[in-house]
Symmetry: C2
Subunit: 84 residues, 2 copies
Amino acid sequence: MEFLVKVEVTLKKTVADPQGQAVYSALRDMGFEGTREVRVGKLIEVRVEGEDREHARSLVDEMCRRLLANPVIEDYRLEVGVDG
Amino acid sequence: MEFLVKVEVTLKKTVADPQGQAVYSALRDMGFEGTREVRVGKLIEVRVEGEDREHARSLVDEMCRRLLANPVIEDYRLEVGVDG
């Protein structure tokens, strides 16, 4: 069965985010004065074959630990959906 | 009132995604043979001051149209949360 797993990879709160800072400054300069903070992360969509949702989740969790996320500076969060 | 708005910026389905393709190949090479497709997008978290949820949404929607997303090659999706 095929599952679409969304992975949100975000920088840990304690890690500086120069890209987010640049977007923040640009938004403020454009007149969006209500902007308080911007953080930029990655959204990785993985379509994967698995026996069931839990299997798909554990496969993608392992992908995150081994390749998709850097545990020193990043957190990640998975969301498993069913794919048609 | 402060809102945390999550913006998912993804490449349109018709646009080639070399970064996703590279991750796909790496995962297959690592033995994740059930991997069918990988797409890499951006997750932008914007903390913004707004009168209410709709106001916050419309502000960030305007940010997307003017700066955060490239409508020629990207789609975006907003999710408004309340921030403590």
